[in-house]
């Protein structure tokens, strides 16, 4: 299986759309066994990509909420 790479400029929504398209194809069994592994690989990449995006965003938000110390319950 050739190495699949995601476009680093890919947006979360596009990635999610691609992922859901793969899931839809799988659901409708419109994927051949020959494609399956590469599609799953792609899905995995998209999942990782999206999850990283989500985690990064979450972390960023958490940093915004608690800029220095986490013991500060109330940011204001």
């Amino acid at each position: 299986m050739k190495e699949i790479k995601l476009d680093p400029k890919l947006k979360y929504d596009e990635a999610l759309e691609q992922l859901q398209e793969i899931v839809r194809l799988l659901e409708r069994k419109e994927i051949t066994i020959d494609e399956l592994a590469s599609k799953v690989k792609m899905a995995k990449l998209l999942v990782d990509f999206c999850r990283e995006k989500l985690d990064a965003t979450e972390e960023e938000i958490n940093k915004i909420i608690r800029p220095e110390s986490s013991d500060e319950a109330e940011p204001f």
């Binding site: 999610l16 992922l19 859901q20 899931v23 799988l26 659901e27 066994i33 399956l36 999942v47």
Partner: protein, 459 residues
């Protein structure tokens, strides 16, 4: 001068007048409209000069007084308004009784006051003022100003010793919501004739300071007390202020013109303070709740996306496994179908083979039976018949020969005594040669006699 003139001492005349007035008017009272031209209070009693004018000319004048006890009662009924109603320039509707005092002369004793005429007059003036402000384009000026979301610097105009003023400051600095204010005080009398000038000056003064808002307070008072804030001069100054003005003129019913032209007005000074700190508080809480909402929704979104994600991931795994399982099942089904089909095919062939063999056997056996029943019997029977016929025919032929033999056989004639004679094996009867000397053979039943012809005797 004639002495028949009746001369009365003044006292007598006055007593007579007093009596006359008392006799005719003591039980009557009259509602009278007049303008107060002068008002004096002494020991709680009120002394008014009343007048009536027509076309700018005074047409009537009269003094009137209201005794302490009556004043208190009526003032109480009017919620203390009477003090402001009894003011020079006000038109008043008074219930009066005509009294005559031998020393003080004719006077009207005020028994009751109806404030409506006075108020109406104030309203009229108010309207006129508003109309004027509108005409001069001042009326909406304040409304066009921008009031910052957070007001921290306040110019306070009012009378420092009044309760309203103190209430304002204390509410502003001791509330639990927001107290980070700076107040620049501009003391001004807010009551009486001097109030107009002082308030106007204070507003003008405040324009020079870097404040967010001008607060004009007065700690309540009667309707007539507050009438000063209906003054054009104050209203104009408020309207022209570059700084938003918030009024807190303690009143309960009608707004004064100052309220109307101001950027904002509150019922009391305390309410103004509340307005100010609550504005900051609301701002802060809106800020807080907005930010909370942002965080909450953002984290919610992330959570939701993560959930969605986990679902998608799960579905991915699930559907992949389903797909693989389906395919595996398909393989199994294909093998199954294959085996069934192959066995069907084989069974078909087996059946076919049996059929063929049966057919072959049946055809063969039928063939044999056909041969048996047709081919052999007929010829064999024909042979029998022909054989018998042949024998029969031969029998008949034989019999014919036998009969012919019997018929032709001369032996029976010989037995009867006849004989046969031949010469040279020719019947004697047919013999044409020379008879004499010929050897004649004669056959009898039992002998062959050979003789020589001796004679021939013709018969």
């Amino acid at each position: 001068m004639k002495d028949n003139r009746k001369i009365y001492p003044l006292a007598a005349l006055n007593r007579s007048l007093e009596g006359f007035i008392r006799d005719n008017f003591a039980l009557k009272s009259f509602w009278v409209i007049a303008e107060i031209t002068k008002c004096q209070e002494k020991n709680g009693h009120y002394y008014l000069d009343l007048a009536d004018s027509k076309d700018g000319k005074r047409v009537a004048e009269m003094s009137a007084n209201m005794w302490f006890s009556t004043f208190n009662r009526v003032n109480q009924d009017l919620n203390g308004e009477l003090v402001t109603i009894f003011k020079a320039g006000n038109k008043v509707l008074l219930d009066v009784r005509i009294e005559f005092h031998t020393i003080y002369g004719l006077k009207l004793n005020i028994l009751n006051v109806d404030p409506t005429i006075t108020y109406g007059e104030i309203e009229k003036q108010k309207k006129a003022t508003i109309e004027r402000l509108k005409n001069e384009g001042l009326f909406v000026l304040q409304k066009q100003l921008y009031l910052p979301a957070i007001i921290k610097k306040i110019a306070l105009i009012g009378s420092p010793n009044t309760s309203g003023y103190r209430d304002f400051l204390s509410e502003l600095t001791s509330n639990a919501i927001y107290t980070n204010f700076k107040v620049k005080e501009f003391p001004a009398t807010v009551q009486g004739e001097r109030a107009i000038n002082e308030v106007v000056k204070a507003i003008q003064n405040a324009q020079n300071y870097n404040v967010d808002v001008i607060v004009l307070v007065r700690g309540g008072g009667s309707k007539m007390d507050l009438n000063v804030f209906n003054e054009y001069a104050i209203a104009r100054e408020i309207a022209e202020s570059k700084i938003p003005v918030i009024t807190g003129i303690g009143h309960e019913t009608d707004e004064v013109v100052a309220d109307i032209v101001a950027f904002n007005h509150q019922i009391t000074p305390t309410a103004v303070a509340k307005f100010l700190y609550q504005r900051a508080g609301v701002f802060r809480s809106e800020l807080q709740s907005g930010f909370d909402a942002v965080i909450k929704i953002a984290l919610g979104m992330i959570g939701q996306f993560k959930d969605e994600f986990n679902h998608t991931s799960k579905y991915l795994v699930h559907y992949t496994q389903v797909l693989l399982k389906d395919e595996n099942h398909q393989m199994r089904d294909i093998l199954h179908d294959l085996r069934i089909a192959a066995h069907d095919l084989l069974d078909d062939q087996r059946f076919n083979l049996n059929l063929q063999l049966n057919q072959a056997a049946n055809f063969a056996l039928n063939f044999v039976n056909l041969k048996k029943s047709t081919e052999l019997i007929a010829p064999y029977e024909t042979i029998q018949v022909h054989a018998k016929n042949t024998i029969e025919r031969n029998r008949i032929g034989l019999k014919n020969q036998e009969e012919l033999l019997t018929y032709l056989n001369p032996e029976s004639l010989l037995k009867k005594g006849y004989t046969l004679s031949t010469i040279e094996n020719i019947d004697v009867q047919k013999y044409t040669g020379e008879l004499l000397g010929a050897e004649l053979k004669t056959l009898t039943d039992s002998r062959l006699i050979i003789s020589e012809v001796k004679s021939v005797k013709e018969q």
